[in-house]
Symmetry: none
Subunit: 227 residues, 4 copies
DNA sequence: AATGAATGAGCCTTCATTCAT
DNA sequence: GATGAATGAAGGCTCATTCAT
């Protein structure tokens, strides 16, 4: 009855499809997801995915791209310039975990990317270049300052991966934790506590590695200031 | 007509099926794996999976059980008793990474379980109870001694997870690393270096946490004894 | 808002659709042609075919009708009256082949009908009545005069078909010739040579049949007059 | 109940599929044919085509190959050596038309290949190399002897195509003839008459071309003997 | 006991067509 | 009058599974 403009209507269907696809891909990954289920959840026809996106892979790529675009953190860049490296790292980690629990934003962004890591598709290349590389580069810079090594150093890289690993693990391991310790509920507070722990654990390790790696080497790392 | 020892043949087929299924499930996960490919690699008939195991899920569960049985490390238990906690942790980590790169033994045990974490099936419960819980308990014991807290302590749990995370990450992240830094080849030496790094990183963190967490609290941690 | 002359626009769209449909149907036949491709080439909306023609089959029938209308050769009728039958036949054949290679006019008229012969649709009846029967009647008249038999004679019919066969074959057989003798390029000259050959071949056969069929029978064939 | 050997049973299903596929492909061509219809006619499951042949194209290629193998004519080769070229040509043409009406053999062999000419698929290459090229080469040899030119001569090629064209036309044009002259029934006798006509028509043309092309050129063609 | 031919549900995709605007 | 978003039937194909042997 109401005169809905077609343009908006199309966007609405597209948006609903992306929403539904994000959920389904986040739940079961690319392989196990079916366009039927996605269309069903979006309230659209079975041919809607192909009409709007061409094929399943194109929709998935769109989802990955959406996950990429949403993950901007200019604040961290700013932090990097003004505060100590330790605080920058802590802010970075809290930013990522806050995204995971933000009630305003759907939760599938990171889950989809975590699935992509476990079962790579051709879309992995795009994710690596647009999301992972910038974040890893940023992380390597921060880590490098703390341990007093260049960002490209192999040790720096491995430390960065140790930090990333902890973040991704808490995305993947929820079902396991639920089985291991049913009493450990993933409330807002628990997740804050986990983020805090990862920051503490990682900074402690980095500081120690910074000391033992180059004991005689004078460092300009911000970790000095903490002494 | 020829008197083939059927019993042995059956066991042989079963064994080959498990071997092949382990490889395939490790490579692509449960969903993407096909019984055709498994039978092909085992040199068995297409109906072999259903004949020997009932259905695909039953075979997968069997695979998970096999992964459970194979991952015995009595040496670590021994180490736990005789050496320092740090050395026990180091030995545990090296043991896992050695399995992943041992050319004699198939490396699929850990990979299958890593996939199971990312895409849980009904078999996850069994894996958690028979593999993960014992290992996590062991790890929590070791970690608890280092940081001077009880194994059930929340902080202990989170530290254990931080360590597990790093191991699993290096199983999953290979495709990403290959894209990020094509020059970083996963040779035998590189993997040893990674294992060494994870041990160093984790122990450094644990020691620091042990200090900062309860500075005034006298600890019976084995790390103290090692001084 | 702008006052586009709708009537002209509609006609223009219709014309472009027929043009595009002619090309597509000529290339791949009725079954393999898609309305999408036709609309794309016509620069029209995807619903244009259904809007202007009702459905795909109606458009195709329209195409066949258009092919009918376009294939008028009053000149041949004139030739038939004034020149010898041999020259009339030669002119008829050259007329057909000239259409196929005329760069100004689309060549799809004959191709579409050739496809229709290989894969008949309900539209075949119309084509037969409006295009084929007049031409075959004309051809039978010419052939009848050359071989000295009535146009309805079975032998006359078969001779006419032998001539039609050669024309249609060179429309269909291009892919085969390209595979058989890749060096035989279908240039303008080559096609002229083929037309010339078919005329020569057919006239030679007709004259011989005319002689041998009724050696004692005095003929009023125009071929006689040409001596 | 009866103990049918599985091997024979498989062959039976395969044979039925080929039978059904031959019919369907002959009726509507490759594009318009559906595996569903083929399986339905063969009394087999919808997945039977993929199980036995891999995919639709592979089944079609098999059909083409079968059409190839069945078309051996060693008798013609013998004729070529012993009789005159004219008789060899006549025998060749009668052989082809006899195949079309042989009640023992299914009629689709030639129809499928005729469809392939009108709407080529990737399988055309195989048909050209295994069926068409041998026959065309043979035909060119015979024609070349009659007109006194080498088999590779362009004129020889065109004459050969004029003959092939007439044969193929009578396969394609049946629906048209049925509409044009409903009284011209394609009985066994009518087809014999057509074959006879094509032979007469072609030989007449060839002899005339042989004369006019090289009047001063002494020829060793077997057509000489007919003088 | 073990095979492999056969099954049917279900996947992604394409297509002509419809309908609200 | 004309658009283009949306439809649903149908296509080829894959898969785990079944069943007669």
């Amino acid at each position: 009855m109401t005169a809905i403009p077609q343009e908006l209507n199309q966007d609405a269907t597209r948006t609903k499809l992306i929403q539904a696809a994000g959920e389904v891909f986040a739940e079961v990954g690319y392989q196990a997801a079916t366009t039927r289920e996605i269309c069903r959840r979006a309230g659209a026809n079975i041919a809607a995915v192909n009409y709007h996106f061409g094929d399943k892979l194109a929709l998935y790529t769109e989802i990955l791209k959406a996950a990429v675009i949403k993950r901007e953190q200019p604040a961290v860049e700013a932090l990097l310039a003004t505060k100590t490296s330790e605080e920058a790292l802590r802010a970075l980690l809290f930013g990522i975990f806050r995204q995971l629990t933000d009630p305003d934003r759907p939760a599938w962004y990171v889950k989809v990317m975590a699935h992509e890591l476990a079962n790579p598709t051709p879309g992995l290349t795009a994710v690596v270049e647009h999301v992972i590389r910038p974040n890893v580069t940023l992380l390597c810079t921060i880590v490098g300052r703390i341990i007093g090594r260049p960002p490209q150093d192999m040790k720096t890289r491995m430390c960065a991966h140790s930090i990333i690993a902890q973040v991704i693990h808490y995305i993947h391991a929820r079902p396991v934790i639920a089985l291991l310790w049913p009493d450990w509920k993933m409330t807002q507070e628990a997740i804050e506590e986990i983020a805090s722990h990862i920051a503490e654990f990682s900074i402690a390790a980095l500081k120690e590695i910074g000391k033992s790696a180059h004991p005689a080497h004078p460092q300009k790392s911000t970790t000095r200031r903490s002494k």
